[in-house]
């Protein structure tokens, strides 16, 4: 909180600390909303410019995290809409699940480099309402309660969305994970 107050008074060092501490959150929120990793850098820069400009207006420094979330989310939504208009494509498209894959055996699972790339694409292809909590969970290691508080959702809803996100990812990658049979 002292850092926020110092940054509000114009301390560059404090602003620097703020960025260090919260850049992960900002980037996670952006990725969760737009679902395009290559867009994250540009939007994050816009977000930090807005934060720098509007920080003096933040009345309660204890609300920094939810305030940052709102700024980042709005910037990501705007950028996503602009990109959609430019490209004429749905950024929020649902990944097409791959069906009729091989049966899963009880074994340790390894995932190769190419599959990692496909996994990222599958995460990008998740509907935003599943992707947002999923990314926050994995970027920030937040609890259901923390995610729910930030997204304004009941804990049960967060849990359900995470279950569905995992299920969709599994379906999207079915048949592409390897079992080494060592278990």
């Amino acid at each position: 909180m002292a850092t926020v107050t110092e940054a509000q008074r114009g301390s560059r060092e404090a602003a620097d600390r703020l960025v260090r501490e919260h850049d992960g959150l900002v980037r996670g929120v952006i990725f969760g909303v737009v679902g395009r990793a290559q867009m994250v850098d540009d939007i994050a820069q816009q977000v930090w410019a807005q934060v720098w400009q509007r920080l003096p207006g933040l009345k309660d420094p204890r609300r920094l995290r939810s305030w940052l979330y709102t700024v980042a989310r709005n910037a990501a939504i705007d950028a996503g809409q602009s990109a959609r208009r430019r490209q004429g494509v749905a950024l929020d498209a649902v990944a097409e699940p791959v069906r009729d894959g091989p049966q899963v055996n009880p074994a340790r699972i390894t995932i190769g480099g190419e599959v990692r790339e496909e996994l990222l694409r599958a995460i990008e292809g998740l509907p935003a309402l599943y992707r947002e909590p999923f990314v926050l969970r994995h970027m920030e290691d937040w609890s259901y309660a923390e995610i729910g508080e930030l997204l304004g959702l009941p804990v049960e809803t967060v849990e359900t969305r995470l279950v569905r996100a995992r299920r969709q990812l599994r379906e999207a990658l079915r048949g592409k994970v390897e079992h080494d049979g060592s278990a």
Partner: protein
């Protein structure tokens, strides 16, 4: 009633997220021992989860370097301020009014600039440099964010730009 498969997936998800109680973890352990396909499902979800975390962090985060709002050096700030000042002077320079007789009179080349003198124009410009320390009223604040040399680094420049309202124009009539 919830589908047993869905119940299992929910339990796995809770365990992977560290949200399961001790009793739920024991229940899952028993289910995995009893049912090989449940065990396979758990392994698959665990692997996907682990890799998803790596994939997201690698794709989204600036690798290995914390983001930094770099403090601009005093020389850089002074240079930017000087450039802004010179740009403002150039911008404030009025357009040349076409002469009716065709012969350009040097003393009327500008609507409101003082007649050109024989002194070095650089010394005239230099006077404007004194304005650097003068707080400018009636300005618009803007911020320019320049990406730094490394990913995650930003240079934020605060600019006080004079508003595009020229009182001098009115005095000309």
């Amino acid at each position: 009633m919830t589908d047993p498969r869905e119940q299992l997936e929910r339990l796995i998800s809770r365990c992977l997220d560290g949200e399961a109680s001790a009793e739920e973890r024991r229940d899952l352990q028993r289910a995995l021992r009893r049912n090989p396909s449940a065990d396979a499902l758990f392994e698959e979800y665990a692997a996907l989860d682990r890799e998803a975390g790596h994939a997201i962090r690698a794709a989204v985060a600036a690798p290995g370097i914390g983001p930094v709002l770099r403090r601009p050096s005093i020389w850089r700030e002074a240079g930017l301020a000087l450039a802004a000042c010179v740009a403002m002077l150039v911008w404030l320079q009025p357009l040349e009014r076409p002469s009716a007789g065709g012969a350009a009179d040097a003393s009327r080349a500008s609507w409101f600039a003082p007649p050109p003198t024989t002194t070095d124009s650089w010394t005239d410009d230099a006077r404007s440099v004194e304005r650097l320390g003068v707080p400018m009223a009636d300005t618009d604040r803007e911020w320019i964010v320049v990406p730094g040399e490394r990913p995650g680094e930003y240079l934020v420049i605060e600019v006080n730009r004079t508003r595009t309202r020229l009182l001098q124009l009115r005095r000309d009539f």
